[in-house]
Symmetry: C2
Subunit: 462 residues, 2 copies
């Protein structure tokens, strides 16, 4: 890229625009095209049909902060100090954040001439030098952590009016490094994020850009604009998803209107599974077992869609991939050198997007904090440690007790083993039939763990 | 229709061809477009995208025989004597069957000049005068009951080779009223049914036709042709579904090749939910609770697709409908008079197919045998009687015991109440909050039951 100008590169079509849309706590089963029967998502359904629907796509961790460190750095959060067994995410009193030594997607692409913008939830440190503008983004507009933080008082958000509810969470809305609104009026948050994204696309359109649009929703407390209120058969949660679907539609429509759709890769996914403890204010993992916070599939497998009209081969892709594959992939398609001074946990999947090749990925590590609870290798997933999540409802509430307290982590003498392609619901433990598979996975895990270098923990600084 | 010839009617496009594809024990979550992550169904996915995907579509009963009586007559099976609490389906030793007094879809359409063919599983009586050719079908090719009947010996079908397995079930393959093969070579069953359907389309193409293609699979024992063996990530069950998907593709391709696709309505659905007791040889109800045999949603809500290129308004339809709506709908679109001498439990949904109007349906009755276990009215579903199914696996096998014996039916003092749009997984009982809804549903149930006239039971004759 050094010897030709950006506009030349653009004409040569070798620097696509890239948009990542990252939902918060959206479950695997919450979109129409992933099986939800009462939430309408026509824009995402069409996006999946025109593009690729990925059904074995994982995040780097089952909760917000480490998952976000993973997607933006292409590395497991344990490598950047962004995971902890004591404090699972950053809080308003946290002093840590994503270290400057990390190279985000934005920083990598910006170094290759991309315009960059972060919109929405950050949750990788809300103090300098951890903000988006410290990490390669030209601009930032959003809430720097979760929308349920800075609670004014103990509130039961189910019984409050929406007016009362948003005032109960004194979260700041920031533009670049400044707080511009507090509490954030969350009722129009998805709408305003969308308007910001549309404005950025129009502003950026002449040269390559990267936009990271990380919705705060459907993380509780739930809010949606007036136009979406009580519109969904799926209740308030459905309303919220339908507004996010509308948002996706606005973005794709803008790309088409501006004539840059063919040269823009849009990725839609979520940071972790649905938050079951909030019942009908939480989503569904579909046929998958488990939920946010845990290492069963429902906690870490996400409904993922890639869209790139002129380049992608439409279809369903069942290869394993993770959010950590995005950085190497984006580097590949933009002609950006991948830094060679560090370990990456992602692989370039651009071949698969274009319909050729296979994923190089053979393993997924399911971290809960700093411990690996489970490992998937090919079809097989072994659980070495399990921990049922607080409030995770059962499939049979009539006769079986709901789990009402968070259980302790249990190191299993004999791991649980599932074939997660044949048995995606992790219902049928086949450990006894395949001791050799467990032995092989143990070996893979030991090799992985031997390569982890301890670093300063960022989540435990407060 | 009386004053013009069929070919004139055909030119006027007012007598569409109709094909019903009815799978056996396919679960709500088993197709890609309904959320399965490791079973590839590109033909059904495309059919749903080009046509309509219905997400609140029910069968008349959670097991084979009564469900099939419901789809073909447009009436609850209790009205035709085709349900029982003692014998839930017909068996090879049964002497009963669908009474001649019943008017099947085939008989109604044949009376209006349609050519008709039944292919596949019948299960409405295998002796005269109960066979397809006794009920308005010009021809029949298939197994007259379930593919797991006529067991030669007690076999564990999991451990047998496929060769041994098909020989373990001495089921007859019939052409019209004759047995032409026994045991049926089930390994090529889906393939041969498909070839028969394609041949019938080509044979029928000049004048209106109705084809009822009722696959015996994915009911256990599972079989698939050589070309589909070990092809699916989803294991043998996935192979079987992928062959059915191929079959759908063959049928749609034939309609296109013959130039009659625009004038052909194709409906795809299943007779009841997945048979969980067979573990990885059974399917998945996705995010729905329950399975085959039971009256939770997973037992009776089916993955349903309507396709009719020139007439249908593509999209997702979340209105309630049932298989019993097909007969009135087919009568409406073909200009066939609906007999007025009997009660129908179905409604004409042709307006919805064309994108106008709403479903007239306000209720769904969930029968188990002759008793109504649950009633849905609008968003709400009340369970008056519950009965956990044998072997129904739980979502949390680690800590919760699997149900290993069939429980007794329990009449609930306070019914369970769910909003099945907001909570399709029937996880959050809201009975205490809505006694008025339960009272209203009780009233609807009492009115319904007052209108049921006792008839001779067909399933208890053997």
């Amino acid at each position: 890229m050094s010897s030709i100008s950006l506009s030349e590169a653009r004409q040569k079509n070798d620097q696509p625009n890239i948009i990542v849309i990252f939902a918060d706590d959206l479950g695997y089963g919450d979109l129409g095209v992933f099986g939800h029967p009462s939430i309408k998502t026509p824009n995402l359904d069409r996006m999946a049909f025109e593009g690729q629907k990925w059904t074995n796509f994982y995040v780097a961790a089952p909760v917000c902060t480490p998952s976000r460190a993973g997607i933006l750095t292409g590395r497991l959060p344990i490598r950047s100090g962004m995971s902890s067994d004591k404090r699972r995410v950053l809080f308003p009193d946290s002093n840590g954040g994503l270290p400057q030594s990390e190279i985000t997607i934005a920083k990598a692409l910006k170094g290759n001439g991309y315009q960059t913008a972060a919109i929405g939830k950050w949750h990788l440190g809300h103090k300098s030098p951890f903000l988006p503008t410290d990490h390669g983004f030209d601009s930032y507009f959003g809430i720097p952590y979760s929308n349920d933080m800075d609670k004014v008082e103990k509130t039961d958000h189910f019984t409050l009016t929406e007016n009362e509810r948003y005032q109960g969470y004194n979260v700041p809305l920031m533009r670049d490094e400044e707080i511009v609104e507090r509490p954030t009026d969350q009722r129009t948050l998805t709408k305003r994020y969308t308007e910001e994204a549309v404005a950025k696309i129009k502003d950026f359109k002449k040269d390559p850009f990267f936009i990271y649009l990380a919705h705060n929703l459907p993380h509780i407390p739930l809010f949606r604009s007036a136009a979406f209120k009580d519109q969904s058969l799926g209740g308030i949660y459905g309303d919220v998803i339908e507004e996010i679907d509308w948002s996706v539609g606005q973005i794709l429509a803008t790309l088409k209107e501006e004539g840059i759709a063919d040269n823009t890769l849009v990725v839609f996914t979520s940071d972790n599974g649905p938050w079951h403890i909030f019942k009908t204010h939480g989503g569904s993992a579909g046929l998958l077992r488990g939920a946010k916070g845990g290492t069963f599939e429902g906690g870490m497998r996400e409904p993922t869609v890639f869209w790139w009209p002129a380049q992608i081969k439409p279809g369903v892709v069942m290869d394993m991939a993770t959010t950590m594959d995005l950085l190497p992939t984006f580097c590949a398609i933009s002609g950006t050198d991948l830094p060679d001074d560090r370990v990456y946990d992602g692989f370039d999947i651009s071949g698969l997007l274009k319909g050729s090749g296979k994923s190089e990925r053979e393993t997924v590590f399911y971290y809960r904090g700093q411990r690996v609870f489970a490992v998937r290798k090919g079809d097989y997933k072994a659980h070495f440690i399990t921990q049922l999540e607080y409030g995770n409802p059962t499939a049979h509430p009539v006769t079986l007790p709901a789990v009402t307290v968070e259980n302790e982590a249990t190191v299993l003498e004999t791991p649980l083993l599932y074939n997660v392609n044949v048995d995606p619901g992790e219902r049928f433990n086949i450990a006894e039939d395949h001791p050799e598979v467990i032995a092989e996975i143990r070996k893979v895990l030991a090799e992985h763990q031997a390569g982890i270098v301890p670093v300063e923990n960022q989540l435990e600084k407060y």
